[in-house]
């Protein structure tokens, strides 16, 4: 058939055809309608029908096994044998005895039911077969049947020679168009939502190649190929597949009219847009920019507002990725999306706006309000994907603000949520990026509290759910490195922390750089005079407050207090410290709590001199700090604490206690085998 001068492969528009496997399914269905099967067995079989109809062709052995697991004694195999061992007329007879869906009003095979539709498809396909095709079908049925039941003895010599062929040929037969569509949809869904369950990149590639070999016109396979190549970061192949897909699509979207605007003009625009997104994902910003401009231009020329809206979304994403200011663009995008009633894009825009706002220190309540509004939108349109992202984002924002409890709560909320997708409704966990982010936050939160075994359990889970080859694995790798880095820094094992910084910068440049700056800053701070650090710290504090970053603000206060202590104004230090104490104890990490208590105790000691009351406070503080540090197993700091304790007790005249602390100090000192710092020059 020719349309527009081009040969269409699918001549009759038949999406399905009869194969020996399909005959087996038909026989099973027939058996189910005619014979008596117990109720639980029937229920199990009913659940099996859809996968059997949609899935790829199975060998008879696999098929029998699947069915027998549900229902041990069925007679349909007998029917198959009668056909395979009999003559052609037996097969013809079988098809004529099938219940016709048009007459059987009260049976399950009525024409509108799933089974009825399948039967109609099969009958139609069978009736369209020509003489030689019917014979060929019969031959292949015989082969299908006998290849399972016959012994392989007579073909043994062939097997050994044919091994390279067998693997590629016999593994899976060709898929009918229906089966292929189902396969593609399934894999694409899995790639997006649960990459771990999708086929491995190489296997998927092979499957697609196979499919394209049988039907080169099956354009969707090219698109999946593109997605698959993106997984393995293969720019060459992914660009090739993407363009191939659109070259094909341009034709199929254009039925009859050669310059119809809605036909291929539309796919042209989206082709350019997709190309832009491809370059964007590979970090080719200039190329992406050019492609995007092209998409925008074509979309403008044809007044396609929806496409323009998509372009705008990509434009601000691109600007954002390039590191330039894009808030205005995003705001425009939100407005436009609202105008054209595109809820998905609109709330996506708002989410990125919130992200940008959070980075720039916008008022927290406004951000939260915006998120809440989008949330309402999500539930209204049941955009489950965005709900997940939104929860993950809230977690991140709470973490950023230093409210660990709220972050924990949001993360748990997301992790305990069941999937809302219609495809696998009720499945407990999806493996989307949002989940990965939430789990990473959870891990960090646990690490902050010193619960390292819990942290490693979380990482074990992440490793299983997002194996290293998948696209979201970078997230947890980075997180893992961060936690290790913090741990080593806390234990003052700088030599161990250093290679981690390198590893981090391999995964994420800015993160690594940030770490480098932090560690060098701390080194400087150790050596430089304290009075010069004071204005810097004040500046940091002001900045953190302005951006509502509570944990950072507390940390800055700690540093400030320490500096003041070192400068000999402990009273002032104590005042400042009181301000930070509450948030730290409420939300802070264990190490911060310990540091705060230790610092407070030292301040008390310095202020009190030999007054009893101050010393008692200091003792309490030190004890508390000791408990925090021992929870983290942070030996160097424990040693400091013990030293101070011993000093304090001695001055209070409690010799026994003093001796005990001194002994603890001695033990730790021997264990650490490094000289203690002269005075405690560190926080």
């Amino acid at each position: 058939m020719m349309t527009n001068g081009v040969v269409h492969a699918n001549v009759f528009g038949i999406k399905d055809w009869v194969s020996p496997y399909k005959i087996s399914v038909l026989a099973l269905l027939y058996e189910m309608t005619s014979s008596k099967i117990t109720l639980p067995e029937r229920r199990r079989l009913n659940k099996l029908i859809l996968p059997l109809q949609q899935g790829p062709d199975l060998t008879l052995g696999q098929f029998l096994k699947t069915v027998e697991e549900c229902c041990p004694q069925t007679a349909y195999a007998v029917k198959l044998r009668s056909m395979a061992d009999g003559e052609l007329k037996d097969m013809e007879y079988f098809f004529s005895t099938l219940p016709t869906p048009f007459t059987a009003f009260d049976s399950e095979a009525y024409k509108t039911s799933v089974v009825g539709l399948f039967m109609r498809h099969m009958l139609l396909a069978y009736n369209k077969l020509s003489f030689s095709q019917v014979y060929k079908l019969y031959k292949s049925l015989q082969h299908y049947y006998h290849s399972h039941y016959d012994t392989v003895g007579d073909r043994a010599d062939k097997e050994e020679l044919d091994t390279p062929l067998h693997e590629s040929e016999l593994r899976r037969g060709p898929l009918s168009q229906k089966q292929a569509e189902y396969f593609l949809a399934r894999q694409a869904y899995l790639l997006k939502n649960d990459e771990n369950k999708a086929l491995r990149p190489a296997a998927l590639q092979e499957e697609l190649n196979n499919m394209l070999k049988f039907n080169p016109d099956f354009a969707e396979a090219h698109y999946l190929n593109y997605l698959n190549s993106m997984r393995v970061q293969d720019i060459f192949l992914s660009a090739h597949s993407l363009l191939h897909y659109f070259d094909r699509l341009i034709l199929s979207g254009n039925e009859g009219k050669s310059n119809g605007d809605e036909g291929y003009g539309r796919s042209l625009r989206y082709a350019a847009l997709n190309l832009a997104s491809l370059h964007c994902r590979f970090g080719h910003y200039q190329q992406a920019d050019l492609a995007l401009q092209e998409a925008i231009r074509i979309a403008q020329e044809s007044n396609d507002h929806v496409c323009l809206q998509h372009c705008l979304s990509w434009l601000y994403t691109l600007e954002h990725m390039k590191g330039s200011e894009s808030t205005v663009l995003t705001q425009d995008s939100v407005k436009m999306a609202a105008h054209f009633c595109l809820p998905y894009l609109g709330s996506l825009d708002i989410q990125s706006l919130v992200q940008q706002g959070a980075m720039q220190g916008k008022a927290a309540h406004k951000l939260m309000d915006a998120l809440k509004d989008t949330e309402i939108l999500h539930w209204k349109h049941s955009l489950s994907e965005l709900i997940e992202i939104s929860l993950a984002q809230t977690t991140s924002i709470w973490r950023m603000y230093g409210k660990s409890t709220m972050a924990l709560q949001q993360a748990q909320l997301l992790l305990n949520m069941s999937s809302l997708e219609p495809v696998n409704f009720g499945v407990h966990q999806n493996n989307t990026e949002a989940f990965a982010v939430a789990l990473c936050h959870l891990a960090e939160l646990h690490a902050e509290q010193g619960l390292y075994s819990a942290t490693s359990e979380i990482f074990q889970h992440l490793k299983e759910q997002f194996p290293p080859h998948t696209q979201h694995s970078k997230l947890w790798m980075l997180c893992d490195l961060k936690i290790q880095f913090e741990r080593h820094m806390n234990n003052r094992k700088y030599h161990l922390a250093e290679p981690l910084v390198k590893a981090m910068s391999a995964l994420n440049k800015t993160e690594g750089l940030y770490r480098v700056m932090l560690s060098t800053a701390e080194l400087h701070w150790e050596s430089s005079s304290f009075s010069t650090a004071l204005p810097l710290l004040l500046q940091a504090l002001a900045l953190a407050r302005q951006h509502h970053l509570q944990s950072l603000a507390s940390e800055a206060i700690l540093h400030l207090a320490f500096t003041q202590l070192m400068l000999g104004i402990p009273e002032q230090a104590l005042n400042v410290l009181h301000e930070a104490m509450e948030p730290i104890l409420a939300h802070g990490a264990v190490i911060d709590k310990g540091r705060a208590m230790l610092l407070a105790a030292r301040c008390h000691m310095a202020v009190a001199g030999f007054r009893l009351k101050g010393q008692a406070l200091a003792v309490d503080g030190l004890n508390e700090a000791e408990s925090y540090f021992s929870r983290l197993n942070c030996k160097e700091r424990l040693r400091d604490v013990h030293y101070l304790q011993a000093q304090l007790h001695r001055s209070l005249g409690q010799t026994a206690r003093s001796n005990k602390s001194a002994m603890n100090f001695r033990l730790l000192d021997q264990e650490l085998q490094s000289p203690a710092p002269p005075v405690f020059m560190q926080l």
Partner: protein
């Protein structure tokens, strides 16, 4: 030295002729028609041998005698395309010849059934699935014999074909090399091997027997790998060695010239070929492409009618007719004939591309894209299809999108200026001037066929206010245009002259400026400006009395030429 060696190799033409005659009969006995045809054509080009110098009949063994009757019977069935019947009667024969024919019949029977079934398959997706069922059995049997080293040159060739059909390409290459070593004179094996060689490194790594036929193979390979210069050299050597009358070589040289777009040479050769071999249909589609490019309507019309008389259901004939209609701007009919060619042979690459061109003419871009895509599917290395796709998207005003396709085309033909110019134009549209300049300059350096690159480069420089570079390019452009001799339609010499005149005037080179202005007056569209410039020059000259003043106001203003443009020697240009 190399020549001498070659001559000695080909010295004994009589010997070669003898070999050819014996291999012809061998191929004929086995039904290998194409190889027999090739060898016969070559043998025909050599002088006939005296009667007593004819090669002796091959030795007749006891086995041959035993199988003689069965073989004769089977061969006649085979000739009538009753392959199964032939195979049935050959079963159990033990001579090599009978064994080959037995296996070959089975192979051909499978192929025939496959072709028949393609029309009649169960479903659309199964179409690609239809395969020669006999192949696997053949492979098993042949590989057993192969390991036992019981295969002769012909059966090795068949084994290779079976492997290739099963997509076991690596093994196939090895077996073909083996087949060639066993029987170097069988051209079919060489040809099959040539289809499997993808690059020059692979070609060099093969160990092939040193036989005179290897030179034919190498020349063929060079043509396939677009190493036209080497190929022409090889063919020239072959002609000098005594094959000057071979129509095969003449057609191959013509095709090679066509590939490097040396149209006149190719046309002359094809005309010669048609004189020697008036009923030839092979390669005539290439000939028609050349006539098309040259817009030689009567010749093309004559060729088309002539070919229709010979055989109207040949792919080549349909392509020629398609070209004929296309030249007459009857694009619907042209597309129809290309479609017919594709029905006759769906793997006919040229027709897909040509059909794409026709759809482009008809402004049916989506069908054009489809056709080009098909062409690429048949052969990924078809640069014209990639180029065509690029053009299609360019027409759809997607300059960034078409870059990918032009790049692909450029990759396949790195030294073809057309792709480079197309790339440059796309970059220019995207305001990527740096890239565009690079492309144009490269296009000029590799030998610009359309003589447009320099002009475009100059205009680009002009836009960017790089007047020195622009002048340089215009100068080169003028030299280029006049040196190539013929008059080009789109030549914009006047534009170049106009710019150069102004440029020299600004830089106070009044002599050169006036020369350019005078030249301008030769062209209608620039005459007025030329005259105006001349007037300006004479005015300025009147003001500046002393020519030495020029020396004291050297080119110190902001547009001092960095690379001083050498004054033009315009006298030699005669438009």
């Amino acid at each position: 030295m190399k020549m001498a060696a070659l001559c000695s190799e080909f010295g004994d033409l009589a010997q070669i002729k003898k070999q050819l005659i014996s291999v012809i009969s061998l191929c004929k006995e086995r039904g290998l028609l194409h190889s027999a045809k090739w060898a016969s054509e070559l043998a025909f080009a050599l002088d006939p041998l005296p009667k007593d110098n004819l090669p002796p009949e091959p030795a007749f063994t006891e086995e041959d005698a035993q199988d003689l009757d069965a073989l004769t019977l089977a061969k006649s069935y085979f000739d009538l395309k009753e392959y199964d019947r032939a195979a049935y009667f050959l079963k159990g024969c033990c001579s090599q010849k009978a064994y080959f024919l037995y296996m070959y019949s089975r192979y051909l029977s499978g192929e025939k059934k496959k072709d028949d079934e393609t029309v009649d398959s169960l479903g659309p997706l199964e179409k690609g699935q239809v395969r020669n069922e006999a192949l696997r059995e053949l492979r098993v049997e042949l590989s057993k014999k192969h390991t036992a080293r019981e295969l002769d040159g012909f059966t090795l060739y068949l084994y290779g074909v079976v492997l290739r059909k099963l997509d076991l390409l690596k093994e196939a290459v090895e077996v073909f090399v083996e087949a060639i070593q066993a029987l170097p004179l069988h051209w079919g094996a060489w040809l099959e091997l040539s289809n499997l060689i993808t690059n020059i490194e692979m070609l060099k790594s093969l160990s092939l027997p040193d036989c005179w036929i290897k030179d034919f193979f190498m020349a063929h390979m060079y043509t396939e790998l677009q190493m036209i210069k080497e190929a022409l050299q090889k063919y020239q050597n072959l002609i000098e060695a005594g094959f000057s009358k071979s129509t095969y070589i003449i057609s191959q040289i013509a095709v090679a010239y066509h590939n490097i777009r040396d149209i006149d040479q190719a046309l002359a050769l094809f005309n010669e070929l048609r004189e020697h071999d008036p009923y030839r249909i092979d390669n005539m589609d290439t000939f028609s492409n050349l006539l098309y490019v040259k817009s030689m309507k009567p010749e093309l019309s004559y060729l088309a009618h002539n070919l229709v008389e010979i055989d109207k259901y040949r792919v080549e004939t349909c392509c020629v007719i398609g070209n004929y209609y296309s030249l007459r701007s009857q694009h619907e009919k042209a597309a129809l004939y290309f479609q017919r060619a594709l029905k006759l042979n769906p793997r006919c690459l040229g027709a897909w591309t040509l059909m794409g061109h026709e759809y482009m003419e008809m402004k049916n871009t989506s069908a054009a894209i489809q056709a080009y895509r098909h062409a690429i599917e048949v052969n990924k290395r078809d640069y014209r299809a990639w180029y065509g796709l690029g053009q299609t998207y360019e027409i759809l005003k997607m300059p960034f999108y078409c870059l990918y396709y032009y790049r692909k085309a450029h990759q396949l033909r790195p030294n073809d200026s057309r792709m480079l110019v197309a790339l440059g134009e796309s970059y220019e549209k995207l305001s990527q001037q740096v890239e565009a300049k690079k492309c144009y300059w490269r296009a000029y350096s590799v030998g610009d066929v359309e003589k447009m690159a320099l002009l475009k480069l100059a205009k680009l420089h002009e836009q960017l206010n790089e007047s020195d570079d622009a002048a340089q390019c215009y100068m080169l452009y003028i030299q280029d245009i006049f040196s190539c001799g013929e008059q080009l339609e789109h030549a914009e010499v006047s534009t170049a002259l106009r710019y150069l005149g102004q440029y020299y005037f600004k830089n106070k080179h009044y002599d050169e400026a006036s020369l350019c202005a005078q030249r301008c007056c030769d062209y209608n569209d620039a005459r007025e400006e030329g005259k105006a410039l001349l007037r300006q020059i004479s005015q300025v000259r009147d003001q500046v009395e002393t020519p030495s003043a020029d020396l004291f106001t050297p080119l110190s203003n902001n547009n001092t030429p960095v690379r001083r443009v050498s004054p033009l020697n315009l006298i030699s240009f005669t438009p």
